[in-house]
């Protein structure tokens, strides 16, 4: 029997101790009419060898050259990370309720919180949330609680924030009467025009500022932060953690810095893996820490006065506060956070900066090479991080991407559904994992595809 150690003798002895004749008797409190027969639609069990064969078949297949980003980024992942993360002592432990038996996990989370706070330029970090999108939703809920100057449930949400993040935030906050009001962007620059923001926005709880934004474009975060603060709003920064090795940390935006910082942690050592598990990070300053959702670990001392670690500020959480908790969240993304912590320790500030810089410059190189192709233009002339938007003239984005796939290239994320005003546009990304010849291969494939499609259209 898979994973069940009982021998016939064990079962006999145990039943005798209980005083019943068979295991079925143990279910005698369940009404008989509710009992079911066999689970016919579940296949028969496989042994590990058979299962291994099946999974290897399913994992096989073409491995195209991937230039898609749009919220999940392919970066080099040091081999040491997942070797350590999948050690049984991390992999098969649970939430550190018994602190003395969980010092490894607790210290690791403390180190994670420290790294994230330093990376974002903030004073505090939680132990993580599920992912970047749901983390933004939690940040919105937190901002409404934390903004003492405002009674409003209005949030300003730029159209340059990842459209899926906006949709997820909508799903999670709408039942609490919170409204997300869209802020438009400049069609030629791909970012918010600070001058176009209203002089009298009224009572608003918070302004969400993405950096880089979904198009990869850099927003004028300093001016946007100051504008929001001047009107009594809190600033929620949603940022890419890799970029923070290069770009101004949200804690230093404008005169006072952002109030809440969140984002997707996946770029820090977490594989793409079809979309998860990733993790959402969240940081803030100490004055708002009691409004922050999620687990937080603190350093303290034990009965001998020796430093040790424990969950803290638990009065915010559902297991204590029940219906009055800051969130219903009950866990963090522990194992994935362990990966990110080891990633940051292995890379260090300089290593992370090199990753950010190389990714940025690879995307620059890609966009320069793309621009030389007939029918391909850059959508925006603004400075960007490691993604850019390319537009096709005379060919549909869908057709271009399909034709590229046939050439073994995943050419980017199609923007036509979410941003029809941009025309036939695609978001592309080249991280540090792409070599000069990868980039040339993409250019050559696109060149071929464009001349074919445009030729066909003419």
């Amino acid at each position: 029997m898979p994973f069940i150690p009982h021998t016939k003798t064990d079962v006999k002895q145990m039943l005798a101790s209980i005083g019943v004749s068979d295991v079925e008797t143990l279910f005698d409190e369940i009404p008989a009419e509710l009992r079911i027969g066999t689970l016919d639609k579940v296949p028969a069990g496989l042994n590990e060898m058979e299962m291994s064969r099946l999974m290897h078949e399913r994992a096989a297949g073409p491995q195209p050259l991937c230039f898609i980003g749009a919220g999940a980024y392919e970066h080099h992942i040091p081999a040491a990370i997942w070797e350590i993360v999948t050690r049984g002592e991390f992999y098969s432990a649970y939430t550190p309720y018994q602190a003395e038996a969980s010092q490894g996990t607790l210290q690791l989370i403390y180190e994670y919180q420290s790294m994230m706070a330093h990376l974002t330029g903030m004073e505090a970090s939680n132990a993580s949330l599920y992912d970047g999108a749901s983390g933004l939703a939690e940040a919105v809920l937190m901002a409404v609680r934390a903004n003492r100057k405002s009674k409003s449930k209005r949030i300003l949400m730029p159209a340059t924030v990842n459209p899926t993040y906006r949709a997820v935030a909508q799903t999670i906050v709408e039942n609490q009467g919170i409204t997300l009001e869209l802020v438009d962007y400049q069609l030629d620059a791909g970012c918010i025009d600070v001058a176009s923001l209203p002089a009298e926005p009224g009572d608003v709880a918070a302004f969400v500022i993405p950096q880089p934004n979904f198009f990869g474009v850099l927003e004028d975060v300093n001016a946007l932060t100051d504008w929001a603060h001047a009107h009594g709003m809190l600033v929620i920064a949603t940022v890419n953690p890799t970029s923070l090795a290069l770009l101004t940390p949200p804690g230093e935006w404008g005169e006072q810095g952002a109030d809440i910082v969140c984002g997707e942690g996946q770029p820090l050592g977490v594989p793409l893996a079809g979309g998860g598990p990733y993790f959402g990070f969240m940081c803030c300053n100490l004055k708002h820490v009691r409004q922050m959702p999620g687990r937080i670990v603190g350093r303290t001392v034990d009965a001998d006065g020796k430093p040790g670690f424990a969950l803290t500020l638990q009065a915010r959480e559902q297991h204590i506060r029940r219906s009055k908790a800051t969130s219903n969240i009950c866990t963090n993304q522990g194992l994935v956070v362990a990966a990110a912590t080891i990633y940051m320790a292995l890379l260090g500030a300089q290593g992370l900066n090199n990753v950010a810089n190389r990714s940025h410059q690879n995307t620059q190189s890609l966009s320069e090479q793309m621009s030389t192709i007939d029918g391909v233009t850059m959508a925006f002339a603004s400075p960007n991080f490691h993604e850019c938007v390319i537009k096709f003239d005379g060919a549909a984005a869908d057709d271009v991407l399909n034709a590229l796939m046939a050439e073994g290239v995943l050419g980017g994320f199609n923007l036509t559904n979410d941003y029809p005003e941009l025309g036939e546009a695609v978001l592309v990304c080249a991280t540090e994992t792409k070599t000069a010849s990868d980039i040339t291969a993409y250019r050559d494939a696109l060149s071929k595809v464009m001349s074919k499609l445009k030729g066909g259209a003419a």
Binding site: V23, C66, Q107, A345
Partner: protein, 504 residues
């Protein structure tokens, strides 16, 4: 701790620089050239006003230092792989290594969530088949895999209940009923979905007080949130009648899947009359708890809630698997994550489910129930008090240490800490809140009889210690990396981020 003559080395002397946080092992200028691209001049494209002025404070350690540091940290944990971990309501069963190894094949790890589905049909097939298997074992009509944890599954479930009432223009339903024994996430979730919470009591035999339910329910009731077997470790015998009462009042029933392990392949929430359920795959389907996550909390629904399921789901039109989105499901409550939820966790659950197969699933209920009932009876024989002595255990049961707390001033917390010294992770303590000084004990089906006997012996020894040297028990543990930690100081002198000017 010890004055052993063989050793005059103090604990401070034993390689003490190996303790401390990783920042304290950092030296300026140390780097891992192997792990990052070569340094480049910063691009002139980015305006200076948007560039970072000084580098973030991250550790500068060698690869070996990092590996040693984190390996040593791991050794300060209890885990299923190293210890019996009978944490009630958490289902800490063995996590088969194959589930991890096979979920981490490069073809799966390198699959971008936005890549065309044509390039990931093998991955999609696993997701689709998992959906189908979960439908069958829960008796629900459709399943969405996307919620990333039990609590997010709860959110999705309550949001669907709300969407259902709203779609019918039934907007007066503003209350959700929860038993007083409910897990804390239940009331917190109801509030996140804009509901008020009404609690109803549990009777002395562990079942819900049906008279109180009848009194609480009405046209203002949106639904009820239940766990069955309940959080007090017994099967709610009158579940069909409860479902009838709630449905007659126009409310819906939400099933918290925390205890699904107890009934897998034996009874199905769909047959009990539930309209929506969430499953904790990190419990019943053995995906790793990972020190607190990531989990996965798929939801299943009855016929009437199908249109509202969260997206994306996996569809199959003939030969090809594809994502179903809001376009396919316009009434969906929407998306809950940036992509498709904790895909890698779902993958591990899929592999586990296939290794078990149809014959393996009811065995889980059988052997987890056998283990729990055996432990319950044996502990009672050793003199421990059961919270619900007239009832069968399900896959878990509750011991109350109220008598010990009163008579010996040794609390459930003290027993828990002393168990750690004996090499056992403590059961869940102080939950459910309605049983004083409780231990919620869940052995799971993967533990053998010797382990259970060892735990029971340890409990009996601690009982003896409590009677003879209570102060010793009250100051446990003694053999772990830390003694009891000062929680008050942790909250009062908040130190949650390491700063370089601190004395580490």
């Amino acid at each position: 701790m010890s004055n052993d003559m063989k050793s005059n080395i103090s604990s401070q002397d034993i390689n003490s620089h190996q303790d401390g946080v990783i920042f304290e092992k950092s030296h300026s200028g140390r780097s891992n050239a192997c792990q990052a691209p070569r340094e480049l001049a910063t691009s002139s494209v980015i305006p200076a006003s948007l560039l970072r002025k000084s580098p973030p404070l991250l550790p500068e350690v060698s690869e070996m230092q990092a590996v040693r540091h984190f390996t040593r940290l791991s050794q300060k944990n209890f885990s299923i792989d190293t210890h019996f971990y009978p944490l009630g309501s958490c289902t800490m069963k063995y996590n088969p290594r194959a589930c991890n190894t096979l979920a981490m094949l490069p073809g799966f790890l390198n699959y971008h969530p936005l890549a065309p589905v044509e390039t990931g049909q093998g991955f999609m097939a696993c997701m689709y088949e998992l959906q189908e298997m979960l439908k069958e074992v829960t008796g629900m009509k459709e399943v969405s895999l996307t919620p990333m944890a039990g609590a997010q599954g709860e959110f999705a479930g309550m949001a669907m209940i709300r969407a259902y009432h709203d779609a019918r223009g039934d907007s007066a339903r503003c209350e959700v009923i929860c038993p007083d024994a409910a897990h804390g996430t239940n009331p917190a979730t109801a509030v996140m979905c804009g509901y008020k919470v009404k609690e109803i009591p549990t009777k002395a035999d562990g079942d819900i007080d049906i008279d109180a339910l009848k009194e609480a329910i009405g046209p203002q009731t949106a639904g009820i949130m239940l766990t069955n077997p309940s959080t007090v470790g017994v099967f709610e015998r009158r579940i069909t009648e409860i479902a009838q009462i709630v449905h007659d009042a126009g409310g819906l029933l939400y099933y918290d899947g925390a205890n699904l392990n107890a009934i897998l392949g034996k009874v199905r929430p769909g047959d009990m009359g539930f309209d929506v359920i969430h499953m904790n795959l990190h419990k019943t389907f053995s995906t790793p708890h990972g020190g607190g996550g990531p989990g996965a909390g798929p939801v299943g629904v009855s016929e009437r809630l199908i249109p509202f399921l969260p997206v994306p789901m996996v569809g199959c039109d003939g030969e090809q698997y594809r994502w179903l989105t809001k376009k396919d499901r316009p009434q969906s409550i929407g998306q809950l994550s940036a992509f498709a939820g904790n895909a890698g966790v779902l993958m591990r659950a899929y592999i586990y489910a296939r290794l078990l197969g149809r014959e393996g699933m009811p065995r889980i209920a059988e052997y987890s129930t056998l283990n729990a009932n055996y432990m319950m009876v044996e502990m009672q024989k050793k003199g421990f008090d059961l919270a619900f002595p007239s009832r069968r255990a399900t896959h878990e049961f509750i011991v109350t240490l109220k008598r010990q707390a009163k008579r010996l001033d040794v609390s459930a917390m003290d027993f828990a800490k002393r168990l750690l010294d004996y090499g056992y992770h403590a059961p869940t303590t102080y939950f459910p809140l309605l049983v004083p000084e409780c231990f919620l004990i869940e052995p799971t089906e993967t533990e053998d009889k010797d382990t259970l006997d060892g735990f029971i012996d340890a409990m009996a020894k601690i009982q003896h210690e409590a009677e003879t040297q209570a102060d010793m028990v009250k100051a446990a543990p003694y053999t772990l990396p830390s003694r009891r930690l000062d929680d008050v100081r942790a909250a009062r002198e908040l130190d949650i981020v390491w700063q370089p000017n601190e004395q580490g």
